[in-house]
């Protein structure tokens, strides 16, 4: 499923969606009061914690939602943009932004909101921002080394802290809820207001606070899409219900030569083993990557048959089962192992003259098909290399 751009919709459509998303974003920011600089800086003086409330609630909601979508395979978390980490530049940049926040009274998103409703200070802030970015662009060659230092790639915080994703989510949620309560008392204290709340609202807030915690706890306990498929495979194996359609080496060779357009030959071994030897026309999808989004269409189509092979019997059967749970395609397995196929076709020995006629016929069939498969591979190589697919990475970030 998601992300829809660029898989389902084009990037052009993405730009149109950007306008609509922006409208919703701007509307909510303005409604929340982010168009007022006093409300924004109140965060730093303890008299108005609106920013913290909106920001943390949005962060926890979005994090939980993204996790939920990923859990059930509706959103491919390996493809979405994860802000890359460059420790030094992130920290220094962050502190400079903090200074900009307290001196200017806005951040870029909120300044756009405030400018839209006529705040002159926000318009000046935008002017300043563009000038600041211009200054950065000018000094960029000199500070590029610093800007690129400590590159860690798109690492996630829970990997960095060595905890489970759900544990981090729960931790952040609890921190947020704790902060909401504490800042409420601080705010009342700073503004000399009595810290009282009506019982109705108390109940409502308690329910709202329980919601994300419950969702995350459920996610922790319930199996995700991958685990559901694994369980189904294990269950099918336990009940010995799996029927595998097999194809033997000679039949496969015949199919490749005569009906290559009707089949996908899939090597589920590691890329190294694939490089060493693979059946001509075969594509490589290592077992661990079977469920990657890029291969989904191979298992969801119903036009071509998928034929799996590997060296180990278990591996090939597991792959076939997995494929069956991903999509509706017809899946077969090669009776022989990859090594056996190589021995049968590419280390042929001429039969002795006194051998049977059948042995001679088989020899010619195999020699002929071995040759033809290689020819076919060569002939089709330039049409479209079916070996490896590019991984699509979504563009993102603010830089």
């Amino acid at each position: 499923m998601g992300p829809l751009v660029p898989f389902v919709f084009s990037n052009e459509f993405g730009l149109l969606m950007a306008v609509f998303i922006g409208i919703a974003f701007g509307f909510i920011l303005e409604q929340a009061g982010f168009s007022s600089t006093k409300k924004l800086v109140g965060l730093f003086y303890g008299n108005d914690f609106t920013v913290l409330r909106v920001f943390f609630t949005a962060g926890v909601t979005a994090m939980t939602g993204v996790m939920l979508l990923g859990h059930y395979g509706l959103l491919d978390l390996d493809v979405i943009y994860i802000n890359p980490t460059f420790v030094r530049s992130a920290l220094v940049g962050g502190v400079i932004m903090g200074a900009g926040f307290i001196i200017g009274g806005f951040c870029p998103g909120t300044s756009v909101c405030a400018a839209a409703i006529g705040k002159l200070d926000a318009m000046l802030f935008i002017l300043g921002s563009v000038l600041g970015i211009f200054a950065f662009l000018e000094v960029y060659p000199a500070i590029k080394e610093f800007y690129m230092a400590d590159a860690m790639g798109p690492v996630k915080i829970y990997e960095q802290l060595g905890m489970h994703k759900e544990v981090w989510a729960l931790l952040l949620t609890l921190i947020a809820l704790f902060a909401f309560v504490v800042t409420w008392y601080i705010e009342k204290n700073v503004n000399n207001e009595p810290a009282v709340i009506s019982p109705t609202w108390k109940r409502r807030y308690a329910l709202a606070m329980a919601l994300p915690v419950v969702v995350i706890l459920l996610l922790m306990m319930l199996p995700n899409k991958q685990e559901i498929i694994q369980n189904r495979i294990a269950e099918a194996k336990r009940q010995q219900k799996c029927v595998f359609h097999e194809i033997d080496a000679d039949n496969l060779a015949y199919q490749i030569v005569n009906h290559y357009y009707d089949i996908n030959v899939i090597d589920v071994r590691s890329p190294e083993e694939y490089e060493k030897f693979h059946i001509p026309m075969a594509i490589n999808i290592p077992f661990e990557n079977l469920m990657d989004r890029q291969w989904e269409d191979i298992f969801k189509q119903t036009i071509k048959k998928n034929i799996f092979y590997a060296d180990s019997d278990t591996l090939v059967r597991m792959s076939c089962l997995k494929a069956r749970f991903i999509g509706e395609s017809e899946n077969l397995i090669l009776k022989e192992s990859a090594t056996a196929f190589r021995d049968l076709y590419y280390s042929l020995e001429m039969p002795e003259p006194e051998d049977s006629k059948q042995a001679h016929e088989l020899y010619f069939f195999r020699a002929n098909h071995a040759e033809k498969m290689l020819d076919l591979k060569k002939a089709l190589e330039n049409i479209g290399k079916p070996v490896k697919k590019e991984v699509i990475v979504v563009q993102g970030g603010c830089s």
Partner: protein
């Protein structure tokens, strides 16, 4: 002329919840989060390209930016999103009777101080957002949603920096 009363702001938690839903929708549709400073960068690059084309063709930062925007520097996802923000915020302001030309400042700050502060603060934020690879929305909020390590440390640095310096700039905002 009768003064029309401003409507109160939305409950912050409710607004945050909606904002979170918008962010989920954004990630689901586009595979990326929200942002703002990136659009300012597009404007900065486009302005330089227009006024000093020779400079834009030699500057390292400009050529790198142009390379990543084959369709033109203003054909950027964030530019379109920020246009939407302008429309959405204006619409909200009209609905709540908050649209007015106004220079908002602390009770002790003079106009000149506020003007200087806004420009200087903007410049710092703009510069910092480039180092931090995104601002409060692009790096901190969207980073939190996808659990990015970089996004979360940027967020801590922004708010940590703000709190550390708040005392020194209280004349701008407090009584």
């Amino acid at each position: 002329m009768e003064h029309i009363k401003e409507r109160p702001y939305m409950n912050p938690y409710l607004a945050g919840f909606f904002l979170g839903l918008i962010l989920i929708a954004t990630i689901f549709i586009s595979g990326r989060g929200l942002g703002a400073s990136g659009a300012f960068k597009s404007i900065a690059v486009a302005t330089v390209a227009k006024t000093a084309p020779a400079h834009a063709e030699t500057g390292m930062a400009y050529t790198e930016y142009v390379e990543t925007h084959p369709g033109g520097v203003l054909r950027d996802w964030l530019v379109f999103e920020v246009l939407g923000v302008l429309i959405g915020a204006f619409f909200s302001g009209v609905l709540s009777n908050r649209v007015a030309l106004k220079l908002e400042k602390g009770p002790r700050a003079t106009n000149a101080l506020r003007i200087g502060g806004a420009i200087l603060g903007g410049a710092l934020f703009g510069f910092g957002s480039q180092l931090g690879r995104g601002c409060t929305s692009g790096s901190a909020l969207s980073g939190m949603a996808v659990m990015s390590f970089g996004g979360i440390i940027t967020m801590l640095a922004i708010f940590g920096g703000g709190y550390a310096l708040a005392y020194f700039f209280r004349r701008l905002w407090l009584k």
